[in-house]
Symmetry: C2
Subunit: 422 residues, 2 copies
C-alpha cells in the first residue's frame, strides 16, 4: 500500500474519537473512523435509559450523521482485529486493511466485576445500550413479579434493589430507582405499595462521590436519603448470588435478600487495549489502561495515540486523569492539534463535575462554585442537553424531560426482549 | 375459588384488549388484564421503527400507565398457559389462577410464512418491536456492509431490498426504504451512491392495496415508482434463500440476488388461539382465527369472547372483518357493552383505510372521500398522532416527524444488539 492512501485512523466513535474527528476535519486532515457500532452513545444519560426515562434513540446519534458535514471523513462500521505496527496498518473484521499516518485509539471501557466474573450473572452493569435495557428489564420486571407474588418474604426480596458503587453512576441509579418507586409507579400496582421498595446504595470508602468536595458528598447523601435510599458507606461486596448479596463492613458480615443488584462500581479498559499493548509493547496499569506520555502517544510510537477511558494519562502533578467525557473530549481535540504539529504537551482544563439525584436535584463542583439541590440540577440539565450530539435528540430529550418533570411519569418503560417474540 | 373473586379477564393489551378495558372501566365493571409484555404497541407505526424514524419508546405505552386512572383495573404481566373451561379459570405462567365471569381473548397475530418456515431465517417480519429492530439492523447493516464491499456484484446484492406483500405494511415499508436511500442517507457513504439501491415490491394479485379502490392502488403505485421502487404485480415468491429470492409470474421463474428480504405478506393467529380452540371446542379458519358469532362469543360459550386479529368475525353480508386496529377497537368496546347487557349484535362502522407512501404522500379512502398525495398524508398523520395512546408519545412523535420532515434525517438509526456487548 502506498503512502498516498494513508490517513489518520480513529478507532472508536465515543467522545474521544468524535471530537478528534471534528478537530481533524476543521484542520482539513483526512481520516477514517472505525467503530463496531453505527452510533455514538451519550454515556452520561445511560442511567435514564436504564430507569425508563429515555429511549435508546434519544441518547444516540448515527456516527455518519455527526460526521456528515466533515470534509475528508470516511466512516466504517467494522472492528479492528489486528494491528501491524511495523507496516503501520490495521486489519478489519471485514478483511479490509487500513494504512495509517497516525493511529488514534479511543475504544473506551466496559463493565468490570473486579475479577469476580461469576457476579456478572446476578448483576448488571451500565456501559452499553444493551446493558441499560437489561437493567430496565430487571428493575421493571421485579415490580411486575412482585405484583403476582403471594408470599410476603418473596415479595420483599423482589422489592429490594441494591446499587453497588457510590460514584456518579451509582448515585444517579439509586436516585432514579428511589424516585421511580416513590413517585412514578405510585398508583400502578394493586397488591403492594411501590414506595415500600428498598433501595440500598453500597460504597466502599467513607463517603459518596469521593472525587467531589466532602460537603457535596454529604448533600448527595441527604438528598438520596430523602428519596428513601439507604446509604451504606465503608461497606464492601463480598458475594453476589441469586437473590442475595453479601456485604462486609467494620460491623462484620451481612447478607441482604435482594432480587436485583445494579452494578455501578467498576469498569476496565476495552479488550482492544490488550491488542494495542502487545502490538506496540505498551505498558498497562492495573485497570488495563495503556500508559501514554505527555502528548498522549505510546512511548516509542509518536504516531500512535490513546485517549479517553483506555488511556492512563497523568497531569503535571502525576495524578491519573479520570474516566470522564470532558477528559476524552479534550484529549481528542488535543491529539488532532498534535497531528497538525503542536509541540505542547496535553493539559486538562477541569471544568467541573456533576451528578444528579432523583428528579430535580444534583451536586455540582465547577471549581469556582459548588452547588447542590435544584440550582445544581438546572446546571446539570443545561450542560447535558447542550452536549447531546445531534439537534433532534436535544429537542426530544427536552420534551421528554419536561414531560417527566411535570407528570412524574416515565416515558420509556417498555420491557423488551423478554419473553422473546414468537 | 368463590364467585366473589371472579372478574372479567382480558388476555392481551393490544388495541382490542385496551379498548375493552377502557369501556369496562367506564361501566364500573372490574377486570384483570393479562399481557406477556408490560406495554401496548401502536402497531400502525411499527414500520417507522424498522426504518429508523422512530424509537421503540415512541410507539409504546406502559399498560399500567394507560390503565392507571381506570377504576377496578388490575394488570398482570404474565402469560396464560392453560384454560379450564368448566371451572371458568385461566392458569398463568407464574402459577396464579384467575377465575372469570367473562373471558375476552385478544392476543392478536404474528408473522407467518405461509407454511415456509425455512424462509424465516433469510427474511424478517414486522409484528413486534423485536422484529422491527431486527429489520432496522438488517436494512442499515446492508448499507454499512456495502460501504466496505470492494466487489461490485456483492455490493449490488447488498443494495437490493425486496419487500414481499403489497398490502399497507409492504407499501409503507417499500416507500420508507425508497425514501431512505434517495434522501436520508444521500451524503452518508463514500464508496457508493445510496440512491443506487434497488427496492422491489412484490405483490401476488394484480394491484397494490387490494382492499382499497383501484384508483388509489394506482396512485400508490405511481407514488412508489417516483421514489424509485420497482413494483412487481401478479408475482409470487417461490423461494427465499441466503442472498437470493425466487419469484414466479406469468413470464416464468426469475431469481433476484438480494441480501435483504422484508416480509410484509402474511400473519397468522397467535399460538394462544390453539389453546382457546381446544378448551372451548371452537372452530378455526385456515388462518388459525377462531370463528365467533354475531356477539363475538364462541358458540356454546356466551361468556367467552374473541376479538381483534384472532377473531374470525363476519359482517352482515358474510364478509370476514379485516385485521385492522379500528376493527379491534370497536370489537373491544362492543364486548364491554355486551357484558354490561346489550342484546344487539356487533356492527363494524368502517371509517376508512389509510396507507402512507414515503415522506409526505398517502392514499386514503374514507368512504365519502378518496384522497391521494399530500392531502391524504395530512389526514394520515393527524389520525395516527391522535390515536397514539399516551400524551407524551404524541408530543415526541410530532417533534420527531417534524424534524424528519424538515431535515430528511432519521432520528433513530442506531443498530442495536449486534455485535453483542462485551
Amino acid at each position: 500500500m502506498t503512502d498516498q492512501h494513508r490517513t489518520v485512523v480513529i478507532v472508536g466513535g465515543g467522545f474521544g474519537g468524535l471530537y478528534a474527528a471534528k478537530a481533524l476535519a476543521s484542520f482539513k486532515i483526512p481520516f477514517t473512523l472505525v467503530d463496531r457500532r453505527n452510533f455514538h452513545l451519550f454515556q452520561p444519560l445511560l442511567y435514564q435509559v436504564a430507569t425508563g426515562s429515555l429511549s435508546p434513540g434519544d441518547i444516540t446519534a448515527p456516527i455518519r450523521s455527526v460526521v456528515h458535514g466533515f470534509s475528508g471523513a470516511h466512516v466504517l462500521q467494522d472492528e479492528v482485529i489486528d494491528v501491524r505496527a511495523a507496516a503501520r496498518e490495521v486489519v478489519l473484521q471485514s478483511g479490509a486493511v487500513l494504512a495509517y499516518t497516525h493511529l488514534i485509539v479511543a475504544t473506551g471501557s466496559r463493565t468490570s466485576y473486579f475479577g469476580h466474573d461469576e457476579w456478572k450473572e446476578q448483576s448488571c452493569g451500565l456501559k452499553s445500550i444493551e446493558e441499560a435495557l437489561t437493567m430496565r428489564q430487571r428493575i421493571l420486571g421485579a415490580f411486575e413479579r412482585a405484583e403476582k407474588e403471594t408470599d410476603a418474604t418473596q415479595r420483599d426480596k423482589l422489592l429490594t434493589f441494591v446499587v453497588v458503587g457510590g460514584g456518579p453512576t451509582g448515585v444517579e441509579l439509586a436516585g432514579a430507582v428511589g424516585e421511580m418507586s416513590r413517585s412514578t409507579l405510585k398508583h400502578d400496582f394493586r397488591n403492594f405499595d411501590p414506595a415500600r421498595a428498598r433501595v440500598i446504595l453500597i460504597e466502599a470508602v467513607e463517603r459518596l462521590l469521593p472525587t467531589f468536595p466532602p460537603a457535596l458528598s454529604h448533600s448527595a447523601r441527604r438528598a438520596l436519603e430523602e428519596l428513601g435510599v439507604e446509604v451504606r458507606l465503608e461497606t464492601r461486596v463480598t458475594g453476589i448470588e441469586r437473590g442475595r448479596i453479601t456485604l462486609a463492613s467494620a460491623r462484620g458480615e451481612e447478607s441482604i435478600e435482594a432480587e436485583t443488584v445494579l452494578w455501578g462500581a467498576g469498569v476496565t479498559s476495552s479488550p482492544f487495549g490488550e491488542k494495542i499493548a502487545t502490538a506496540f509493547g505498551a505498558e498497562r496499569d492495573r485497570g488495563g489502561r495503556i500508559v501514554v506520555g505527555a502528548d498522549l502517544s505510546i512511548s516509542g510510537h509518536p504516531d500512535v495515540f490513546v485517549i479517553g477511558d483506555l488511556a492512563h494519562a497523568t497531569d503535571a502533578t502525576g495524578r491519573l486523569m479520570p474516566g470522564l467525557a470532558p477528559v476524552a473530549i479534550q484529549q481528542g481535540q488535543y491529539v488532532a492539534r498534535r497531528i497538525r504539529g503542536t509541540a505542547r504537551p496535553f493539559r486538562y482544563r477541569n471544568k467541573g463535575e456533576l451528578a444528579v439525584i432523583g428528579r430535580n436535584r444534583a451536586v455540582c463542583d465547577l471549581g469556582w462554585i459548588r452547588l447542590s439541590g435544584f440550582p445544581a440540577w438546572v446546571i446539570w440539565a443545561f450542560v447535558h442537553i447542550m452536549n447531546l450530539i445531534g439537534f433532534d435528540n436535544k429537542l426530544l430529550v427536552m420534551v421528554q424531560w419536561g414531560f417527566n418533570y411535570v407528570t412524574r411519569k416515565r416515558g420509556a418503560r417498555l420491557i423488551t426482549f423478554e419473553p422473546g417474540p414468537d
